[in-house]
Symmetry: C2
Subunit: 567 residues, 2 copies
């Protein structure tokens, strides 16, 4: 920290007021919910507390809450000066850095809509999103400028230095000049809590990506639930592993500031850096998909942690192996579930006190379920999926709570998106029956917990039976030599489809099976037969070095299916 | 617990659904905030977890969340069957019991408004409130039936037994008969989150009590903040010391269910019972005014606690003595501030990490301040009080943040009441300048923390100087022999007014000063002169056995002033 000084423009004037102007004529008792409130109150209460640290880069930066709030205000004024008007979209393409965290606040303060774009997309995909969102300004990290070549909108490049001379810092300086005379009271509090907060595009594995419109109210309530459900408070330190461009980082940019906690940003998933922070920076919370968690426990630095750390897991269910290994080193897994359309997590698998006495295997089966709606989320149901010709306003019917009947997960309430941007038809279809239709297939257990079986396209129809590739993966992953496994359907002349398993061996077991992958395949099939019905046992097993993954760490079954189709 | 069985009507049917009917035509992404949501989700997630215990009575009761939710549903249907329509007021007169906690949920489920009435009022005062609120039904505890004799509305008596034959239980049974066929889905979710949730009357030390109308939205958000700010979760046990009839128990009836915690109800403030639960029932949280906290630490049972307990303190500021004594036995004081008009607490004195290194005396001075707006509360300001002839819509001006200039505390936002019931004029005046005008006088410190000086009427104008009776009390209470002290103005021929102190001696010091109260008075005046300006030193000191207190434990200065006027 001793080598870093925030730019003079980042230093707030003395006597700063954190109160925005309240529009005239509003009722005294009604204040529009807006997650911008959180950073303002943290800056008021803990002005000198570290808000954000960005250490593992050539130019590390560290901002206290008061300094960071000033930068957010500068950004807001700079955007307004640049012609950004209420409701305009401002795109951000950046890895986890203070810049993208700032955008999640400063853009809102300008009454504009933050549009974080996945930096791992192709220039064509980015161009599509920039065009579809009609973003009027683009903030881009220097590593990703190739993604916005030819963009029509104004581009502000960040060199991720936080130092004078960085184009992004020059941009902020404009805002500071403007803000010095006005401060926060020069900005008006957005009076419509249903105004859009973010526009996040789905990964679009099928068809064009869709733009998910979320609201200020939803972001406020989701951020609240995320902080409460994970026990984040001012003594917490949140480590950014989950990319912030993914569903606005599941609203954690706001949850962390709500808690007045410290956030540490990492440009990429680097296990040495992660372990360094787990051991030496007081990290208490992080979010990550299971594949990243697997990398984490298998890193050479892995060791028992000096304090409990909460690992928020979503993307797919944690396996018994993963849970055991995490708990062994003091990491407490919290299994949550959600989609971009639900602001990231909206359910949580609440561990019952009685589960403590179960065997790890039995406990894991319970923890691997997606659970129930979390604090501010409202309804999550499993209903019979729409049939061809069903009216869009037909009443939805719950599947029985038997843990067997497959249905579709649907949600409604404050933690559901407002709409798909500029796509009335897709919105209408997604909101069949007055609920958001997730496309995730699940069962409802007698205790009211949902459990995902599969995305509809991930179901394997083997000999007329519906086999869940997820359920097969859960069982296969209990084989002691397996690090990761993914199962997809492969056409079969007799059975229609049969499961095929792609396996990454545990590093310490790779040698054991070197040159003997056929034998391993037999061993795994035997393991499967002891645990699964015949139609769900893998017909083929292929040992691979790595699995294709999305930018957010999800295994891309679509790639595996394409590979399988060529066999 | 082995001797208690809930009535058969309290047992939910198998396969109960906790989902209310959603009115047609509402947007998918918008769900009306309503604190009823909390008990429903706790019942869904933890059906067999103990929700409420009422142990220290002839007929103890213990309800799990699923059983308690069923009773709440029964109450809702019973009320509807009894002719209660949306918006009707249902009065409750009861000490802390499951009945009054139930009313805070069941009345809301019937879309009615809960009107908790202070059981320590006179029959005339109660009659006024029943009449003014036009309560259509009264639920009354057997100990307080004398308060409702002659009431026009239907009266349901609770014998506080939870057993068949209790008239209240008979009333619930009607609801259960009705509900068996319909369940929760037979009730509609209130679609207007601004519908009233409660009608709580102020204590009315000056003039008629006023009816404070709160909303479902406000109650939801206040309950959320109270749970988050005090760290309540499913492992917590909340002990009811604060009366639930006081500002709806500061929204804790909903905070506790939000947290899926256990609540223990006590009919009265009994230190042996309180200590029994602190020591043996796993209590982690309670709310109480300083006077009750003083009684608690001075009880013969007082001892170091086996686990940390959070004591939420409001009503007046904790003294250094109180903080030291609480912390010594493992009780962590959290100082909050608010009024009935702000759902109870709406600010919190956030302790800064740096305060840990201060002397207790210096730390106490900081902790004794009322702090800043808490999580979901919005603005709290200190402004120049209205002058005669000021327009009600005049812009309010903040006093400087100098810790000296006295102004009035005003608030706006989601944790401010909607209005005074049937009193447009009082509402208009209270909302001067677009803020709720609290009537509490305070200064704003440079760090943004507010500190109450006094209610305007508690200021002592001594020799033309404004002396804060609270500030005087703070200094006097540092005298080692004082248990409690209250200071009021007494007319003085030369100075206009001069402070008079009423003192309760510490039990262990009473003997030391027996027969020597004059000497004690001199000692105290000497103590005061070392700490206070001359005009603020007490001119008179009177040792008393007890101080007059309101039902909620606040010292009634109005009574002391009347006594002084006769001297």
């Amino acid at each position: 920290m001793e080598f870093f000084k925030p730019t003079p423009e980042s230093i707030p004037p003395t006597g700063v007021s954190y109160r925005l102007r309240i529009p005239k004529g509003l009722p005294v008792h009604r204040h529009a919910l807006n997650p911008l409130a959180f950073v303002l109150r943290s800056a008021q209460i803990y002005p000198d507390k570290l808000a954000i640290a960005h250490p593992d880069v050539p130019h590390p930066v560290y901002y206290t809450y008061s300094v960071w709030a000033q930068r957010i205000q500068n950004l807001a004024y700079a955007l307004i000066q640049a012609g950004i008007r209420p409701g305009d979209r401002v795109a951000v393409i950046a890895p986890n850095t203070p810049v993208i965290a700032e955008a999640h606040h400063g853009v809102l303060a300008a009454h504009a809509v933050v549009c974080p774009i996945n930096s791992r997309l192709t220039p064509q995909e980015v161009a599509y999103i920039l065009d579809h969102s009609a973003s009027k300004l683009i903030i881009v990290d220097h590593e990703f400028t190739h993604l916005v070549r030819g963009a029509k909108a104004r581009v502000i490049v960040s060199n991720d230095t936080g130092r004078a001379g960085d184009p992004y810092e020059d941009f902020l300086s404009v805002g500071r000049r403007f803000s010095a005379e006005k401060g926060w009271p020069g900005l008006e509090w957005e009076k419509d809590e249903e105004a859009p907060s973010a526009l996040c595009y789905t990964s679009g594995t099928t068809g064009r990506p869709k733009g998910v419109v979320t609201t200020l109210r939803g972001a406020y309530l989701a951020a609240l639930a995320n902080a409460y459900e994970t026990g984040m408070n001012r003594d917490s330190t949140y480590l950014w592993i989950l990319p912030m461009f993914h569903a606005s980082g599941w609203t954690y940019p706001w949850s962390v500031t709500l808690a007045s906690a410290l956030q540490i940003t990492l440009r990429s998933v680097s296990y040495p850096h992660i372990w360094n922070h787990l051991l030496n920076s007081g990290v208490t919370h992080y979010c990550a998909a299971p594949t990243v968690q697997i990398g984490l426990i298998n890193a050479p630095q892995a060791q028992r942690l000096p304090r409990p750390v909460v690992a928020i897991i979503a993307g797919s269910a944690p396996t018994a192996h993963l849970i055991r290994e995490l708990e062994k080193i003091g990491i407490m897994p919290v299994h949550v579930y959600g989609l971009t359309e639900t602001y990231g997590p909206c359910t949580k698998c609440y561990e019952q006190p009685s589960w403590k006495s179960l065997s790890l295997e039995d406990r894991t089966k319970l923890i691997a379920r997606q659970g129930v709606s979390f604090l501010t989320a409202d309804e999550t149901r499993v209903v019979y999926p729409a049939k061809e010709g069903d009216a869009l306003d037909a009443e939805l019917a719950d599947v029985p709570k038997d843990g067997k009947t497959m249905g579709e997960i649907v949600m409604r309430g404050n933690i559901v998106m407002k709409e798909y941007f500029r796509d009335t038809e897709a919105t209408r279809k997604a909101f069949r029956g007055g609920y958001y239709n997730s496309g995730d297939l699940a069962v409802m257990h007698p205790d009211g917990y949902i459990e995902i079986q599969d995305r509809s396209k991930d179901i394997i129809i083997s000999g007329g039976e519906n086999a869940s590739s997820l359920a097969i993966e859960q069982e296969l992953s209990s084989h002691p030599d397996i690090l990761e496994v993914s199962v997809v359907a492969r056409p079969h002349p007799k059975w229609g489809e049969r499961p095929m398993a792609f396996v990454i061996l545990h590093p310490q077991k790779a040698e054991k099976w070197a040159g003997k992958h056929d034998e391993f395949g037999k061993d795994l099939k035997k393991h499967a037969r002891a645990r699964l019905p015949g139609f769900a046992c893998p017909e083929w097993v292929k040992v691979v070095e790595e699995l294709p993954k999305t930018a957010t760490g999800k295994i891309q079954k679509v790639v595996l299916r394409k590979a399988v189709a060529k066999l």
